[in-house]
Amino acid sequence: MQHLLRRSGFYLVALWASITLNFLIPRLVPGNPAQVLIARLQGRIDPRAEHAMEIAFGISHASLWNQYLEYLGNLAHGNLGISITYFPTPVATVIRQDLPWTLTLMGTAVVISFVSGTLLGIIVAWRRGSRLDALLPPALTFLSAIPYFWLALIILYVLGFVLNWFPLSGGYALSIEPGWTPDFLLSAVQHALLPAFTIVISSIAGWLLGMRNAMMTTLGEDYVLMARAKGLSEQRVMLTYAARNAILPNITGFALSLGFVVGGALLTEIVFSYPGIGFALLQAVQNSDYALLQGIFLIIAVAVLGANFLADLMYVALDPRVRQERS
């Protein structure tokens, strides 16, 4: 219990630090959203509009300290401000609109990748030296070594454009009104398959190799030998004796990547024109859109910290030593 309390204190401090950095970093980057907009519309907007836009965007010339206090006050009230990229839409609306797509696609893909990668790692390590062990890890490593952008484009071109098995772009068929209808859900799943597939095959090798190597170490331990000597079933030795002890590093990695899920998958979103938060983040950076940047970073910071906290909890559950040493 004390261990958990101490960890909570640490997480609060970390949260404050990330909120503060979140405020500072965009402001240290030179730039002015009004000028960026003039560049984006080069020649299509009168340069005299810069003045009007500075008023509209509320570009502040107050001191940094006052801006910081105002920012903390707004955060406390849950007010994330108005996005400039999507002016005058509130940041909260932009995030609320994009986040579910990112969470569903990335969340599912990361879970699939983790579960299948880890399982394959266990099996491959158990049958070390077999043909499977000789083929699978190098093959998957090869796939994940291909730059993601290129891999995704090729897959989209072949499976989507040439063979026409999958839709080319978007999160659902444009003829369908979004809502909790079977038509929409089916279409959403159809559209998510290809992007999810590319994420899984480009990330699965990491889980597999990590698990395989950790398994190799535990398989050499005496307690595994003893379990076998006792005559326990193959499956039981493999899963509860070897794998349970080998999985801890992978759990940490999994928690971290769950936290980063909310950051979105920018490349996936670009290649497949898939809705999500990554593209909004890119636009925010390109347009010096501080409010949107802060909003998205805040969500990422909270999610990463939350996921780490979750990992801490899982460690406590999985590893008795953590419970005993620290309490």
Binding site: P30, Q35, D46, R48, A49, I55, F87, T93, I270, F279
Partner: protein, 565 residues
């Protein structure tokens, strides 16, 4: 044998009956067609769904506030909200729109708009002069939405009756007509008067006078439906307009080549290969010039205040190479007058009808030598005080076509004895250097309008510049010349086309002879379209509007001209 023969008789008999029925139907259909055909030959024009992709925008947010320049959804300006007049920037002509006519007072200090009778908002309420006055007053009360600085020129707005609006001006100003009549979207007073802050209002359910109304909105697609109250009889032809969202050109390109999209405004590196040649009968493109990409020399500084240096720079540049290599063959060399041709053809001075830029390194050398420069041992010219002719050329890093252009120019200028360093910097430093005058030379765009006055005024007018160290709005090279200003003033205050042309010809002479800036190539409008489903598109022979789907309110004019094949 026998069963088979009876069965075949039977089927023949049945077939005979079917044949008779079908023939009867055919006769009926032909009769019907004969009745309907001649009386209404264009029925088939109506209907259809047009899909357009103005550019890779990412997911949409529901924002139909016409004041939110840059973030308002395409279609709000034009398809939903309309302007008083329509200015065709491809040929400079003006069309009556919500105003059926307008007159300047004889001294050009007031404009009277006569509004079109019988126009209704899409909710059925009448459109009157009160709406126009309301819109202009709202812009006055909120400087944050006064993008064209209207109220720097306007003194008052009044409506003597339901169909007349009088706008009084501080001084004679003919050019304001474009901002006022062509760029100001009229809003309904009965709905917007309750909007407390028009700057931050997202206007989720737009009600306008235009040909379309919002049918549905999702972050990936919004759809417009025909407005039954639209004021043009029999229009629009197209039932539905769809705007799907895309994150990148790539996925939009794939759909374009599959024929799922009718109209795009995308930059495509090899448009013939990826698009036009895939279906030569239907896939077309047209990239008309829309502004002049210009080399801005800082004329407030030595050596760029020396005419011979500017002339030598201009003579040394291989503009054809910029066009072919830097710009994929899409953006041809500019005319020496900096007119956007062919759009401004009507105002081209006859003296320069056949003028063009040619690369001439020998001429560059003789110009510099006559101005007292001598070639140093390293091949670079030095002036009388022994200062080398070396300078920076600013460009935004990452704007790859312009960076290539600058590298080509630097090697051209090197060959002509000038030591030029391409200075690729972040956009913010680049733009602030332009504004504050802390640069040697820079490549940049120009701001254009329906006549060359707008480009000349923003690029050359003293009102748009400032001394080095202070912020200049658009006259970045800091050209300040009484003769130029007199011509600009003459254009702005005269209603006669002779006086206006005289002024424009005068500035053309200054452009060609004094090179306040060095025009390079034309910036292009991106426009690809398919005639598989719809025809009536603007093209080189029919330049009736700026053809890009992101051009407002031009997209309305295009949509009203389109109909099914």
């Amino acid at each position: 044998m026998i069963p088979r023969s009876t069965s075949s008789y039977g089927s023949l008999y049945v077939r005979g009956k079917v044949f008779a029925l079908i023939s009867l139907l055919l006769v009926l259909v032909t009769l019907l067609a004969a009745c309907g055909g001649p009386s209404n030959p264009s029925t088939s024009r109506y209907g259809g769904t047009l899909t357009m992709v103005p550019g890779p925008t990412g997911d949409y947010t529901r924002n139909f506030n016409v004041f939110a320049t840059g973030s308002v959804l395409n279609g709000a300006q034009g398809l939903v909200y309309e302007t008083l007049l329509f200015f065709n920037r491809e040929d400079g002509s003006v069309k009556p729109w919500l105003a059926s006519s307008y007159q300047f007072s004889s001294d050009a200090t007031s404009i009277t708009f006569n509004l079109r009778p019988g126009v209704q908002w899409s909710d059925g309420k009448p459109f009157t002069s009160a709406d126009v006055v309301f819109t202009l007053k709202m812009i006055h009360d909120h400087p944050a939405v006064d993008y064209s600085g209207l109220w720097n020129v306007i003194t008052s707005v009044s409506a003597p009756d339901n169909h007349t609006v009088i706008v009084k001006l501080k001084q004679p100003s003919v050019p304001i007509l474009w901002y006022l009549g062509g760029q100001t979207y009229i809003l309904p007073q009965h709905l917007w008067s309750s909007v407390s802050n028009p700057v931050t209002y997202t206007n989720p359910d737009p009600v306008g006078t235009g040909p379309y109304v919002l049918k549905s909105f999702t972050p990936q697609l919004y759809v417009f439906d025909r407005n039954p109250h639209f004021w043009q009889p029999g229009k629009p032809y197209i039932n539905e307009i769809r705007y799907p969202s895309f994150n990148s050109n790539t996925s939009a390109d794939l759909l374009l080549s599959q024929g799922a999209v009718d109209w795009t405004g995308l930059f495509t590196p090899d448009v013939n290969k990826t698009f036009a040649n895939r279906d030569p009968a239907h896939n077309h493109y047209w990239f008309p010039p829309n502004n002049v990409v210009t080399l801005y020399p800082n004329v407030a500084k030595y050596p760029f205040n020396v005419l011979a240096v500017r002339q030598a720079i201009s003579a040394a540049i291989d503009r054809n190479k910029l066009y072919r290599i830097g710009e994929n063959g899409y953006e041809p060399p500019s005319h020496p007058t900096a007119l956007v041709l062919p759009a401004n053809q009507g105002t081209l001075s006859p003296n320069y009808a056949n003028a063009s830029f040619t690369m001439n390194t020998a001429r560059a050398a003789s110009l510099l030598e006559r101005a007292g420069f001598k070639k140093g041992s390293d091949g670079i010219y030095v002036d009388r005080n022994g200062k080398r002719l070396a300078f920076n050329l600013n460009v935004v890093s990452g704007w790859t076509d312009w960076v290539t252009d600058c590298q080509i120019m630097a090697s051209n200028l090197q060959a002509a004895g000038m030591d030029v360093k391409v200075n690729a910097i972040s956009y913010n430093s680049y733009y602030s250097a332009l504004q504050m005058g802390s640069f040697d030379t820079a490549i940049s765009w120009t701001t254009t309008g329906p006549t060359p006055y707008y480009l000349y005024n923003s690029m050359l007018g003293t009102t748009n510049t400032a001394p080095i160290g202070q912020q200049a709005t658009s006259n970045w090279e800091r050209w300040s010349d009484p003769a130029t200003d007199r011509f600009l003033q003459q254009y702005a205050s005269s209603l006669g086309s002779t006086e206006q042309q005289q002024a424009l010809s005068g500035i053309q002479k200054i452009m060609v002879e004094q090179l306040p800036t060095i025009p390079l190539i034309y910036g292009a409008t991106w426009y690809e379209y398919s005639t598989a489903r719809f025809v009536g598109w603007p093209d080189q022979q029919h330049p009736y509007a700026v053809p890009a789907p992101y051009a407002a309110p031009d997209e309305e004019i295009v949509v009203l001209n389109l109909h099914q094949v």
